[in-house]
């Protein structure tokens, strides 16, 4: 049965169900307990599960992320919440040098069933140290899986998918999505990790994106539709692994492709996707590929400047029009 709830409630419901089912699951991070989570995701969970399973940590991202890895090695199914992606840089050593490598370095002996959730993205005038979208960066690392839930159903499903995975999974929740509402059907079989999803079918141009940009792309697609351009909007859902099959299928369908990515353009996941299309479907293209990314600046505070730095429905639509005019 389907209900309409917020993204925040969907994440919380998945966390609750997982903890009710499996005593090995616990949540650890800064202010997840008494404060209720810095984005109120875990509100009320301390009361339900107690401080032994909803663990408020001191401010020590490296140690509590590493502790999550250690607990995972020792039979638990920890969920580490890193408040925002910028703080994950303080835990990068643990994520890259331990979580991503232990299975391989140990010759397959020790897997790390760890889930790390963190808020990502700009758009709230939080300036240069609190507005990053680094999910594409983490997708560079073999050994990790990188998920980017956009819709409410995925906010729920991806927590459970990640917990069921034997390896470290990072979930990037765009903080502007927490208040969005959508349908959740807990009886649905979730779309597995590594599968993209078509949110709008179209025949003229493919817009590949993930996270909050899915909604910007859908808005752009409505504008384009009124102009006679029929755009297909694909939610990648997972940046590692990428769904090459779905990407090439849409390229073969529309023959025109653009990518929307809130990461910086240089060395971004959008660049990786373009490279794969170039390698696997170059002759299917009727026009050069395009992309809309964040401007190559540390994020500014002033609203008009921040707006100009981020992909928007208008810039996405403009890029689509430009690509439709090619050839």
């Amino acid at each position: 049965m389907s209900t309409v709830i917020t993204y925040r409630e969907a994440v919380r419901q998945a966390l609750r169900e997982a903890m009710e089912k499996d005593e090995r699951v616990f949540l650890m991070g800064e202010d997840v307990g008494r404060y209720g989570g810095s984005f109120a995701v875990s509100m009320g969970m301390l009361e339900q599960f107690g401080s032994e399973r909803i663990i408020d940590t001191p401010l020590c991202e490296s140690a509590f992320t590493g502790a999550g890895i250690g607990a995972a090695l020792n039979g638990m199914r920890p969920i580490v919440e890193i408040m925002t992606v910028n703080f994950s840089l303080l835990a990068l050593d643990q994520i890259m040098n331990n979580a991503a490598t232990l299975l391989h370095m140990s010759g397959g002996q020790f897997n790390v069933p760890l889930v790390i959730r963190m808020a990502t993205g700009g758009g709230k005038q939080l300036a240069a140290q609190h507005s990053h979208s680094l999910e594409g960066w983490f997708a560079h690392i073999p050994g990790l899986k990188v998920l980017t839930p956009a819709i409410v159903q995925d906010a729920y499903d991806m927590v459970l998918l990640a917990l069921a995975d034997p390896d470290p999974v990072l979930i990037f929740e765009n903080s502007l999505l927490y208040n969005t509402k959508g349908e959740l059907d807990t009886a649905l079989t979730p779309l597995s990790i590594g599968k993209a999803q078509i949110h709008r079918s179209g025949k003229d141009i493919s817009i590949l994106t993930y996270g909050i940009s899915v909604f910007k792309a859908l808005e752009a697609a409505e504008t384009l539709a009124r102009e006679g351009i029929d755009a297909e909007v694909i939610d990648l859902r997972s940046l590692r692994p990428l769904d090459d099959e779905a990407i090439m299928t849409t390229v073969r369908k529309t023959h025109r492709v653009m990518i929307v990515d809130e990461g910086w353009k240089s060395g971004s996941i959008s660049a990786e996707i373009m490279a794969r299309i170039n390698e696997q479907a170059f002759f299917e293209l009727d026009a050069p590929m395009g992309r809309v990314c964040s401007a190559e600046v540390p994020f500014p505070y002033a609203k008009h400047l921040e707006d100009a730095a981020l992909p928007r429905a208008e810039t996405i639509a403009a890029m689509a029009r430009k690509l439709m005019e090619e050839l």
Partner: protein, 318 residues
């Protein structure tokens, strides 16, 4: 209960195994059978051997990139360790880890970490899991004096004490963080004091005296198992060899090394127990090492087609 003499014999044998094993590694390194980094434990054997004797099989061990000694003392088969050095599939990490990343599930030996202080947070998590699941086992984490300057050390001390975790922290203070002496690294050179400032039971012990290390470790393990929280032991020791095979040792004098060699842990123990039958152990260990070399030489190189295995579990179990 073993008598002191029986224990001393066991200590001597275990320390000699490490010494001779590593000497063989150096020989095989110069013959280019072993490559990459090779960090030798020679001089520090009393620490690993003394601590390991206080543990039970169900306890977990985490160590550093200088971990041949701990791996041998924990009972990982020397043949599989040597095969790992050779990069062979029969190695304890299947040739994926090498000298710095020895792992063994049966021994509950979780590596072999080459990022200084990087294993401390893992130890915190392992101990947290044991505490949450009410298992009666402890986690032992070895690290050097260099690690004590890292942020991860301080974060981990705080968490271990705050959460009252069953961890034994073993600081192997060999006086040098690679080439930088203790006094150039630490505002407070008594490292136990730093741990104590986190409300952790902490003390220094003579790391060249295997009996002293074993005694301290036994007391600590007893306290930890009784639920009294973490313990920190700072073992004052010395590395007789260079930091790695690429180190010209410009930062310390030969006379300093010679002075420390007068307190060689094997020599100290023998001086106290002159009846130890050294020849018997030399012969036994020579056989073990020969077997290890033969095993490693005859080991298999993993097919290159398997290169991308062990990145994700699904591929690893196929």
């Amino acid at each position: 209960m073993k008598t002191d003499i029986e224990k001393a014999n066991q200590f001597y044998r275990d320390m000699l195994l490490i010494r001779r094993f590593e000497e063989k590694c150096v020989e095989m390194y110069s013959r280019e059978k072993i490559r990459g980094f090779l960090h030798l434990y020679i001089g520090e054997e009393a620490v690993g051997v003394g601590v390991m004797h206080a543990l039970s099989p169900e306890d977990a061990v985490l160590a550093t990139y200088r971990e041949h000694g701990q791996a041998l003392a924990r009972g990982i088969d020397p043949k599989r360790i040597m095969a790992e050095m050779y990069g062979k599939m029969e190695g304890c990490s299947r040739g994926r880890g090498g000298s710095m990343h020895l792992f063994d599930g049966l021994a509950r030996f979780y590596g072999g970490s080459a990022i200084v202080a990087g294993a401390l947070p893992l130890a915190v998590g392992m101990a947290l899991a044991d505490k949450m699941m009410k298992r009666n086992r402890i986690t032992v984490c070895f690290f050097g004096d260099g690690a004590v300057a890292e942020g991860e050390f301080h974060e981990s001390m705080n968490l271990a004490a705050l959460w009252h975790l069953p961890i034994l922290f073993v600081c192997e203070n060999n006086r040098y963080a690679m080439g930088t002496a203790l006094e150039f690294s630490h505002s407070e050179t008594n490292l136990a004091k730093k741990a104590a400032s986190y409300c952790i039971e902490a003390y220094q012990v003579d790391g060249m005296d295997v009996e002293a290390v074993a005694k301290a470790a036994n007391t600590a393990v007893h306290e930890i198992r009784a639920g009294n929280g973490p313990v920190f032991i700072e073992c004052l020791t010395y590395r007789f060899r260079a930091h790695s095979m690429f180190d010209a040792e410009l930062y310390r004098s030969k006379s300093e090394v010679e002075e420390w060699k007068k307190r060689d842990p094997l020599l100290l123990l023998y001086q106290k127990y002159p009846n130890i039958d050294i020849d018997k152990y030399e012969n036994e260990i020579a056989l073990i090492i020969n077997e290890a070399i033969t095993f490693a030489e005859n080991g298999t190189l993993e097919p290159v087609e398997e290169l991308e295995k062990f990145v994700y579990t699904q591929e690893a179990i196929l």
